[in-house]
């Protein structure tokens, strides 16, 4: 069954591979026959700043940005970045998030505080009535073979959430085709580790 509209917000820090992940999901959606719109951040904002990318697909999508309160899922590459875009999530949405923080320089300088993961989780669950699927994706990526596969781990986890409209094997195929040949194996492993992590949390 085709969805009318599905909205993914991908949030992270410049350099984490947010754009690559968005592209993979966009292509998977295009191959699945959907109309696709994606919005992304280029230029200055990418230099280790906060980065957000939107992936929207369905029968009726127009703009490239996910409207506030309309996101089905936030895919967070970094915990506070997931929270920074939480206004885009709909009531009862999902937050799939890598719990490994990247501490901003302002925090190291003592000019700002980095919150506890539980504080973030509490806001997501209580105020936004969203489901929190948090785990250390970076650790799993290293286990798969390289830290740069963190985004693949997260995409793997994303495919397991209830009512996710793209087929996991389909998404896997797009990853296989889009990474350099020598990186295929570790990406496939990273994808599987992401799937397992989500299944465990969701009790599947």
């Amino acid at each position: 069954m085709k969805v009318k509209e599905y909205n993914i917000v991908i949030a992270g820090v410049g350099g984490q591979g947010v754009l690559t992940a968005a592209n993979i999901l966009g292509w998977a959606a295009l191959h699945a026959g959907y109309k696709v719109r994606m919005g992304e951040v280029h230029g200055m904002s990418q230099r280790f700043g906060s980065v957000v990318s939107y992936v929207r697909f369905g029968e009726e999508v127009y703009g490239s940005m996910v409207p506030e309160g309309k996101g089905d899922v936030i895919l967070g590459f970094e915990p506070v970045e997931a929270l920074r875009y939480i206004n885009h999530l709909r009531q009862g949405g999902m937050v799939v998030v890598n719990t490994k923080p990247i501490v901003p320089v302002q925090v190291s300088m003592g000019k700002a505080r980095y919150p506890e993961i539980d504080e973030i989780k509490k806001i997501v669950e209580e105020d936004f009535k969203a489901k929190w699927i948090g785990f250390n994706a970076e650790e799993l990526a290293i286990k798969a073979g390289h830290v740069v596969t963190t985004n693949t781990v997260l995409i793997g986890a994303l495919t397991q959430i209830p009512e996710f409209p793209l087929d996991a094997e389909h998404v896997r195929e797009v990853i296989r085709l889009s990474v350099p040949p020598k990186a295929v194996d570790i990406n496939m492993k990273a994808f599987d580790l992401g799937i397992e992590a989500a299944k465990e949390i969701l009790g599947l």
């Binding site: 280790f48 703009g63 190291s108």
Partner: protein
């Protein structure tokens, strides 16, 4: 998932691919059989230029990275005069640089189609201001086309060339960040034979001094011709394929949605579940076609214009309505904000208010919850990358001036030197502005001070400017400062690439998209111009850099220090691709005293504070191995790890 650049050249008509708006425009230009393309990169327009750079040779298109927008404009314009289809692209502020040529040459018209792609940046995601290029279109009497989706951007580009040729007039293709940087499904069209064969096209310039020399006697004839053309184009737009009326024909209310605003209006109407509305989808915000407007307004009792930024369409519609004696409410900027970018929320809110219905979401509640969440979210502004040579340059400048200088800077990555802990940027205005501002500050700060007073109260002024920016508009300012005997230090942060917009080459790189051009070393230019002190340093050697800065500051006159080291982001990208390793550093826990110099004065994003141990630490996945930390640490606590990272 093929490579994007392959897709842009695919000879597969009918194939559906996912393209960035800018890439779709590149494909549109190829489908239109473009011959010459010249541009200076500027976010959000850069990917159009980069895509052209990669496909040009194969497609037989001449392509260049020009040194600034004005010369890019002139390159393309002359090709269009010679009967070729030509295009230039820039960001909104780039058109200010090209404006002199643009406004002076518009009356001369063109022979081959000439398309000026201008990417606006509402909300200023990576820009110094928020200007609406449609106003320039109106100012110059040049038609503006504005796409509402990536696919339409491709189609419209092709049409723009045809339109330009038909009327021998310039055409602006205006996008905003959310069109240029939106990805969407694009259906490929036919490529012309010449593009498929990669055959370079040649033009012929027919001399006509009465047309191409804008002495007053000639120029006087141009203005009425321009006005005549724009009225004919207004007529043409009544029937162009990107303007149409849709929705309930018997509706009493109407919405006019130009360009990308159409996407938001469609989305909003859908979400609101409203059907009895007539929509005028406008691909041409200037000039607004009166015939179509007349048809649209027929029977309407009120109208809303949803447009981003300036009330360009609103003013045209209201003027038209007044002249026609039409007295119905026409809403626009009273309901739609005039600043920052359009969003679905803004469209929904404006339309709901216009129709007197409820918004589908309690935004008040959402905002309250969100603001509460934001309270615990620390800021994360963009920063200079790990191993960025600019950080070391700024560190040396601050040290050499004992942080007591005035630091005018320029447009580029290094503007981020503004942020703590470096705080080494006091002014940034526009491309090339750092040197002019530095000179002006010198005059203002020291004025008629006596020698003695000057020695005591002298304000040290250090301008920073990047390599590409130096060649863009820094050159005339440097000549001016030297000629007028300024007393300033100019540090050219030469990372050998136009880094912020995506690593494009420039004269300091010497590279062109088609191989080596001729490299122009910045120090040679400074010397030839007569600078009083010129030296080149490697900012990775912080001690030497500091010493040279000190020496330069002692010189009376204009000193130029070229701080040269390749962009770290660019270098690491290349190394990753080649599978090479680089050294990474770690903190020796026995040596670190927790003095925080590395954090409070240097500020590399790979260095963080271990709150428990009260010591600095390096995040290995972020260390790019420049060794700057090892040089600035007073206790030698940063040490390289033997084993490198991939």
């Amino acid at each position: 998932m093929a490579k994007v650049t392959d897709m842009v050249l695919w000879d597969k008509p009918g194939e559906k691919v996912l393209l960035l708006g800018n890439q779709a425009i590149a494909r549109g230009a190829l489908e239109a059989n473009i011959a010459v393309y010249a541009a200076y990169p500027g976010t959000p327009s850069s990917e159009l230029t980069d895509t052209m750079a990669i496909v040009a040779k194969k497609a037989g298109v001449y392509m260049e990275y020009s040194t600034n927008e004005k010369v890019a404009f002139e390159t393309a314009l002359a090709a269009a005069w010679s009967g070729l289809r030509a295009m230039t692209a820039m960001k909104h502020v780039g058109l200010n640089v090209a404006a002199d040529t643009f406004l002076s040459s518009v009356g001369m018209g063109v022979e081959g189609g000439f398309v000026i792609m201008v990417a606006d940046d509402p909300s200023m995601w990576s820009s110094q201001n928020e200007q609406d290029t449609r106003v320039y279109g109106k100012f110059a009497n040049v038609p503006v086309l504005e796409p509402s989706s990536p696919h339409e951007a491709k189609e419209m580009t092709e049409y723009a060339f045809e339109l330009s040729e038909k009327f021998k007039h310039f055409v602006i293709l205006r996008t905003t960040t959310r069109t240029s940087h939106a990805r969407g499904d694009v259906v490929l069209g036919e490529l012309p034979e010449e593009i498929k064969q990669g055959k370079r096209k040649f033009g012929k310039f027919n001399k006509d001094p009465n047309r191409f020399v804008d002495v007053p006697a000639n120029a006087r004839k141009f203005h009425p011709i321009i006005l005549e053309k724009i009225e004919k184009i207004r007529e043409e737009f009544n029937n162009m394929p990107f303007n149409w009326i849709e929705g309930d024909e018997s509706a009493k209310v109407g919405i006019i949605a130009p360009g990308l605003a159409y996407a938001y209006v469609k989305e909003a109407l859908h979400w609101l579940g409203v059907e009895n509305v007539k929509v005028l989808k406008l691909g041409t915000p200037f000039p607004v076609p009166y015939g179509l407007l007349e048809k649209f307004m027929d029977g309407l009792e009120k109208v809303l214009i949803v447009e981003e930024l300036e009330p360009v369409v609103e003013e045209q519609v209201k003027t038209w309505a007044y002249d026609r004696g039409l007295r119905i409410p026409i809403h626009g900027k009273d309901l739609v904000p005039r600043v920052y970018e359009m969003t679905t929320r803004r469209a929904v809110t404006a339309i709901a208010k216009f129709l007197g219905i409820d918004v589908p979401l309690d935004y008040g509640e959402l905002d309250a919850k969100y603001n509460k969440a934001l309270e615990i979210v620390p800021p994360r502004p963009p920063s200079l990358c790990p191993a960025c040579p600019h950080r070391n340059s700024f560190y040396a400048i601050k040290k050499a001036t004992r942080a007591r200088g005035i630091y005018p800077s320029d447009i580029g990555c290094y503007t981020l030197g503004l942020l703590p802990p470096l705080n080494a940027v006091d002014t940034t205005v526009a491309m090339g502005g750092s040197i002019g501002i530095a000179h002006g500050l010198e005059i203002a700060q020291h004025g008629s001070m006596s020698e003695e007073q000057r020695k005591k109260e002298k304000k040290i002024i250090v301008a920073t400017i990047g390599d590409s920016t130096f060649y863009h508009t820094g050159l005339p300012a440097l000549a001016n400062a030297i000629y007028n005997r300024s007393n300033i230090l100019i540090v050219v942060l030469d990372n050998l690439v136009t880094a912020m917009t995506g690593d494009q080459p420039n004269p300091s790189t010497g590279q062109t998209p088609h191989g080596m051009g001729k490299r122009i070393p910045i120090e040679d230019v400074a010397k030839a111009m007569g600078a009083d002190f010129v030296e080149v340093v490697d900012p990775y050697d912080t001690k030497k850099t500091y010493e040279v800065m000190k020496k330069a500051l002692e010189v009376e006159g204009v000193s130029v220090v070229v701080s040269r080291q390749v962009c770290a982001l660019y270098k690491i990208g290349q190394m990753r691709r080649r599978g090479e390793k680089w050294p990474i550093y770690y903190v020796d826990e026995d040596a670190c005293t927790g003095c925080k110099v590395c954090i409070n004065a240097y500020g590399c994003p790979a260095i963080y504070w271990d709150e428990e141990r009260k010591q600095a630490r390096i995040e290995p996945s972020m260390c790019w191995g420049c060794g700057g930390c090892a040089q600035i640490c007073p206790f030698g606590a940063f040490k390289p790890v033997e084993e490198g990272e991939e």
